[in-house]
């Protein structure tokens, strides 16, 4: 009896410890989000979002950084999304379980594990110097695209894997070719999950700093880009500059909070969208 009570007490203690830790983890997130939101939200106004930085980046807005980040996100996705989805289709629908597939998959994993600063080095060596793109949106977008590639491949593969085989077989039985099956049966069902992957990789790409340090990011450019060979400012790099190497770090603190808030908002919205998407479509699929 005694040992039984002892066991129960031990379990109680352990379980309450676990829930406490979980509360702590949730708490960390809320502290970070809350702190930046409270300090940052008061800075946000129409001028902040639509004006050029002014007076040594202590006044004005962050428009060029917002536009720059949007350019980089668009550029990287134009490249990475089709390549990622196509290679996931090849991996999942065409390749049999053999060494080629194993090799490609392990390469994708390796690419995902490479630190972002190494992507920066690589992008600088290949795109900026070797291919002579210079510090440009093109070089930065390609670097970021390569970084996002494994994420897109993985999520797309997951999406394709979750589609039951009998749907494909049914399509073949009706005389459809492989390509027709993929286009008419597989992709429509997988589309919501693939989109979720796209949204998440957009959120990832928009926050990356290290890969763009030497491929595109500019310390200060008070105008908007005109071509893909222009340098741009970017939100994450701007935040870094404001906090570590601005002309007057104390005075640009409010700007930094505002920039951090915009970045977080971006990530938050992307995550909420992805979640809503997933939930909405998984419900719909279940009902069918």
């Amino acid at each position: 009896m005694m040992s039984f009570i002892n066991k129960r007490i031990k379990q109680k203690v352990a379980f309450s410890f676990f829930s406490l830790v979980s509360v702590l983890v949730v708490g960390i997130l809320f502290i970070i989000l809350g702190f930046i939101s409270i300090r940052g939200a008061s800075v946000i106004n129409w001028e902040f979002l639509t004006a050029m930085p002014d007076e040594g980046m202590t006044k004005g807005g962050i428009l060029p950084a917002i536009v720059g980040t949007l350019c980089l996100v668009a550029g990287s996705m134009i490249f990475a999304f089709p390549v990622g989805v196509l290679s996931a289709i090849y991996l999942n629908e065409y390749l049999k379980e053999n060494w080629v597939k194993k090799f490609m998959r392990s390469m994708t994993n390796n690419l995902a594990g490479i630190p972002s600063i190494v992507f920066g080095l690589f992008g600088m060596a290949l795109f900026v110097n070797k291919l002579k793109f210079g510090d440009s949106i093109l070089a930065g977008s390609l670097t970021l695209g390569l970084l996002a590639l494994p994420v897109i491949i993985r999520t797309t593969e997951e999406a394709l894997k979750s589609i039951p085989d009998h749907l494909r077989i049914g399509s073949y039985a009706l005389g459809a070719t492989k390509l027709q099956t993929i286009r008419r049966v597989v992709l429509p069902i997988a589309a919501p999950n693939i989109t979720t992957g796209l949204i998440l990789s957009i959120s990832r790409v928009s926050g990356e700093t290290a890969p763009i340090l030497f491929t595109v990011a500019a310390y200060f450019i008070p105008k908007l880009p005109h071509s893909i060979f222009d340098q741009v400012m970017a939100l994450p790099y701007h935040l870094y500059v404001l906090t570590t190497s601005g002309t007057n770090i104390e005075a640009s603190k409010p700007m930094a909070y505002g920039t951090a808030f915009v970045l977080i908002l971006f990530v938050l919205i992307a995550n909420l969208m992805a979640n809503a998407f997933r939930r909405h479509f998984s419900k719909k699929n279940k009902m069918n």
């Binding site: 066991k7 379990q11 379980f15 676990f18 829930s19 830790v21 979980s22 983890v25 960390i28 970070i32 989000l33 702190f35 089709p82 990622g84 196509l86 290679s87 090849y90 065409y94 490609m104 390469m107 994993n109 390796n110 690419l111 594990g113 490479i114 630190p115 600063i117 190494v118 992507f119 920066g120 080095l121 690589f122 060596a125 290949l126 110097n129 070797k130 390569l146 494994p150 070719t177 390509l179 998440l200 926050g207 990356e208 700093t209 290290a210 340090l213 030497f214 994450p236 935040l239 870094y240 906090t243 570590t244 603190k253 951090a260 970045l263 977080i264 938050l268 992307a270 995550n271 979640n275």
Partner: protein, 399 residues
């Protein structure tokens, strides 16, 4: 006819698919090629600026100088050639800045046209001279000789304890402090993240109900989604001042700050991977344990965790990997002092932070530039080892 065209189209499409799927492998290959082609040039090159040479008198018997010795000479820690195995002559340093102490403007001529011959005279007079000169001032008929410098070797690079890549005339490329700094901060991070992450994973997999899990999952995804520069910013404005006050330090930018921020950043990886591992434990095993009268907690410690052990190991290795490669957050909160760390309360400098901070200033193709790519190779190798060991663990598990 139509069927045939369709078939050709299918083949073409398959070709497109195949070429897309080679992009990742090619990228990995190219990353390796470019890191090595830019970085490998550091080794076997002389640690001195291009077009500059060190010149000694012909009587000097010292055969070779290393960059470490040069640095000591220029810091006046070595003052006699005897200390380097040469004759008993005190070392007389001569650089272009010392011109006015030896020669008048008239002697040199308006465009320094007399400089080479004057240098010859000086070298003849001073047996202990060590002159650091640009190629254009070195006399055609040199009365002394150029002293060769020890080439940078891989061992010197990895085991050298001083990282002064821009110091002139003797840059030091020792990355040991950076490697140790990286490992130190990552080790601290995993010390924080592993217990927290594991506890949360167990809570999610074994204790919490579906509703709580539905709250925790997105929280963890968000934690993973916050950009590293925002973590760095938060660390800088909240954590760093806090640590400074708490431990009464001169600066708050410490290894501890880096470890805490990296620990938080590694949490999502550790939680997701170990939760997945815990979930793979077959229900039959757990039920058997419960049927024998074990409590749920006993089942967790005696059945579930041992069963998921390799997955948990994989989780911690991946967490370390995340910490090792992290750049911006570390750059912002660790203070970036390139010294070998002894405690958690002093500034450290990691490999990624060094690359991020210095590549912008390094001139293209120079020694410093090459050294930073060589650092990239080290970082790449560390992450390669980490990824490979995780994959090995995974395949062992599934077989």
């Amino acid at each position: 006819m139509k069927r045939k065209r369709l078939k050709i189209f299918e083949k073409v499409f398959e070709g497109v698919l195949f070429s897309s799927s080679t992009v990742t492998s090619l990228t990995v290959l190219f990353i390796i090629i470019f890191l090595f082609s830019e970085g490998i040039g550091l080794f076997n090159s002389t640690p001195v600026e291009k077009k500059y040479k060190f010149i000694v008198s012909n009587d000097n018997t010292v055969k070779e100088l290393s960059s470490k010795q040069l640095k000591d000479i220029f810091n006046y820690d070595i003052t006699n050639w005897q200390q380097l195995g040469g004759k008993n002559d005190s070392i007389i340093l001569f650089t272009i800045n010392d011109l006015s102490t030896y020669f008048t403007d008239e002697e040199l001529g308006a465009n320094f046209e007399n400089l080479p011959s004057k240098i010859n005279e000086l070298i003849k007079q001073q047996p202990g001279i060590l002159a650091y000169l640009s190629d254009k001032y070195i006399p055609a008929k040199l009365e002394g000789h150029v002293i060769p410098l020890t080439k940078i070797s891989v061992t010197d690079f990895v085991s050298g304890t001083e990282w002064y890549p821009t110091s002139e005339p003797a840059p030091q490329f020792g990355v040991l402090p950076l490697i140790l700094g990286t490992l130190w901060v990552s080790f601290g991070a995993i010390l924080i993240a592993l217990p927290l992450g594991l506890a949360t994973a167990i809570f999610m997999a074994e204790v919490a109900g579906q509703r709580l899990r539905n709250i925790l999952k997105p929280v963890i995804e968000l934690l993973a989604g916050i950009p590293s520069v925002v973590y760095g910013f938060f660390g800088l404005v909240v954590l760093v001042p806090l640590i400074q006050q708490l431990f009464d330090l001169p600066v708050g930018e410490t290894a501890l700050a880096g470890s805490i921020i990296l620990g938080i950043m590694a949490l999502p990886t550790i939680i997701t991977v170990s939760e997945d591992a815990l979930r793979t434990t077959p229900i039959s095993l757990k039920e058997a344990s419960l049927a024998l009268g074990a409590t749920r907690w006993q089942t967790i410690t005696k059945v579930t965790i041992p069963y998921a052990r390799s997955g948990i190991t994989a989780a911690s290795i991946l967490g370390i990997g995340r910490a090792v490669g992290e750049t911006m957050a570390v750059l912002m909160v660790t203070g970036n002092a390139g010294v070998i760390p002894h405690t958690f309360l002093e500034p450290v400098r990691t490999i990624p932070a060094t690359i991020a901070a210095e590549l912008g200033e390094a001139s293209y193709g120079g020694l410093h530039f090459k050294a930073l790519f060589a650092l990239g190779i080290i970082l790449f190798l560390i992450t390669l080892i980490i990824n490979t060991s995780v994959e090995l663990i995974k395949t062992r598990r599934s077989s």
